[in-house]
Amino acid sequence: MYTILLFFTFLIICLSIYCIVTKRNMIKTVLGVEILTASVNLNFIVVGARDGYVDALAQTFAIISIAIGACVAALALALIVNVYRHYGKVDWEVVRRLKW
């Protein structure tokens, strides 16, 4: 059971990294980062609940990590609003003016 759960969290991590790498829309990229945060937190809870007992440290870490993830997502969305004001689009294709 433990291995299956670990495998599933790994699968979600791969899925979220696929989302971050392939999506052009910035909002979708932020969703990918959110999925990555959630899956890492899930992994923490999985490894903390082994051998029939639950470790409080893992759960605490997951809660703190959710709060941190919310901060980062809020900051990312705030920056995306500013990207929209400057470029008129929320697409990674347009955010490429800085070269050389």
Partner: protein, 504 residues
């Protein structure tokens, strides 16, 4: 005065909380610069409190109910005090510099609050003794740093650099957190000293190496080693120049996360990760240097040279762990020399690169331009800034009497101990080639500033105000003092090294 180790943190975080109030009082008293001086004094006060801790190391603090292997723990060692003083010196000078440089911006109460939370995060991270505290303070540093990089949000460069930095660094932190969670699954604790005892009992297996690679890649994304370096020039172009100076500190803290996680938890005598670090380091060195010479914007040149200097640090750590794994304690002096070189290079690079970004700020305010050609002949117009820039450039180039030479020499000398080893020989060849290469372009920028006739953009340049040249001159004289009293710093770093391996 609660506890010696908590005092600097309390001073920084409480002043971050009351800074908006101080800012309002300053506006009421018609003295808006009150917040600037308040932030400056509070960072200075916490520096003094940290320096006051030196005679009584090691200090430890934990909440009474939860004892260390289960609860969180703060632990101050000589190494953490060394790096905390180094980072806070840089941040203190940047705060002084911002009094004049950021004068025209609005929202400065938020700016100084973010600088205070950033420095609080750095001090907290260096004093943390478990991965839980480390991760929380690391994210505090990261979030403050993203916001500061995109502080001038009315410029599109700032927004573009900020969003790229945020995405790369967040993904990196989460990959590192995944590695930490797997480590928790293996060992059942997050405390560094308990982890060190538990992990040594495990046979080196694929799962342990997975954790090591996750930590190197994760924190490596924020320390801009080569496959993940694409955010750094954009972020440095977007950020105000004083924030670019602070970013060099954040790079070193990120590298220190890797060094401490690996050296403390995974004993380098049992786990073979030296080669991974050497590969990343040599890639960053070479590619960073090759990209730096092609730049026309001075900030992008400095950003890519930061990549190559992180390469020196990673190569040094890699050589140290490779030597101790392959040759054992027979060559422990080479291990020590490499690590002393790494930590001295951190010192030189933070002061040198921070100095250069501040002088670039001075030059650009006068010439309204960031191209390399606009720097020509500025020594005749702005002597103080230009001479400091010259010290920084020659120091980073590794011109012999200056301290940058000695730290590079230590890293190179440690690879030269076993010339029959092919890996160390190739590393030596790359290091010598790159140290000549980067000396070439630093000296090229140096001759542009000092020997060329004044360009037409620099005709109207004059020396900037005292708030902007004083921190630069202080940094240049610090670099010269380090050169003169290098023996003192080597002794201190050498004593501090043992704290990585469970000593004081």
């Amino acid at each position: 005065m609660v506890n010696a180790i908590l005092d600097p943190l309390i001073v920084i975080f409480v002043s971050a909380l009351i800074l908006p109030l101080v800012s309002k009082i300053g506006e009421y008293l018609k003295f808006p610069k009150l917040r600037d001086f308040f932030a400056f004094i509070m960072i200075g006060a916490s520096m003094l409190l940290i320096a006051y801790m030196i005679p009584s190391v090691p200090l430890s603090y934990h909440v009474d109910v939860f004892n260390p292997p289960f609860g969180i723990e703060l632990y101050a060692t000589t190494m953490s005090i060394y790096l905390a003083l180094l980072s806070l010196t840089m941040i203190l000078l940047v705060t002084f510099y911002s009094i004049k440089y950021m004068e025209a911006d609005n929202g400065l109460d938020k700016y100084y609050t973010l600088i205070l939370t950033l420095s609080g995060g750095i001090v907290g991270l260096l004093f943390s003794q478990d991965f839980f505290t480390l991760y929380v303070f690391w994210e505090l540093i990261c979030i403050s740093s993203y916001t500061l990089v995109s502080f001038r949000k009315y410029r599109w460069q700032a927004v573009e650099g900020g969003i790229k930095y945020l995405l790369m660094s967040t993904i990196g932190s989460l990959i590192a957190l995944y590695g930490i969670s797997m480590l928790y699954g293996v060992a059942g604790t997050l405390n560094f000293s308990s982890l060190a005892n538990i992990v040594v009992k495990h046979q080196p297996s694929i799962s342990i190496y997975f954790i090591i690679v996750a930590i190197i890649v994760g924190f490596g994304m924020s320390s801009a080693i080569v496959p993940f370096h694409s955010w750094i020039p954009d972020a440095y172009v977007g950020a105000p120049n004083c924030i670019a100076s602070i970013s060099t500190v954040v790079l070193k803290i990120s590298a220190f996360n890797i060094i401490r996680s690996l050296m403390t938890v995974f004993n380098p005598s049992y786990y073979d990760y030296g080669l991974i670090l050497i590969c990343f380091g040599l890639l960053s060195l070479t590619i960073g240097n090759f990209l730096a010479v092609t730049q026309k914007d001075i900030r992008r040149l400095l950003a890519f040279s930061s990549v190559s200097n992180m390469g020196y640090i990673f190569t040094g750590v890699g050589v140290a762990s490779y030597i101790i794994y392959t040759y054992g304690h027979v060559l422990s002096y080479a291990f020590e020399v490499a690590l002393i070189g790494v930590f001295l290079h951190m010192l030189n690079h933070v002061f040198g690169k921070g100095l250069l970004f501040m002088t670039v700020g001075n030059f650009s305010i006068q010439t309204k331009n960031y191209s390399l050609n606009a720097l020509e002949g500025l020594v005749r117009k702005m002597p103080l800034s230009s001479f400091s820039a010259a010290v920084g450039l020659l120091g980073l180039a590794g011109v012999p009497p200056l301290s940058g030479f000695w730290s590079k020499l230590f890293i190179i000398a440690s690879t030269a101990t076993v010339l029959s080893d092919p890996i160390l020989f190739v590393t030596l060849a790359f290091l010598v080639f790159n140290s000549v290469f980067d000396a070439a372009y630093y000296v090229w920028v140096f001759q542009k500033i000092v020997f060329r006739p004044v360009s037409e953009k620099g005709q109207s340049a004059t020396e900037v105000s005292v708030f902007m040249w004083l921190p630069v001159v202080v940094l240049a004289s610090l670099l010269i003092i380090i050169t003169i009293r290098l023996d003192l710093f080597i002794t201190f770093v050498r004593a501090a090294l043992w704290s990585l391996f469970g000593g004081v």
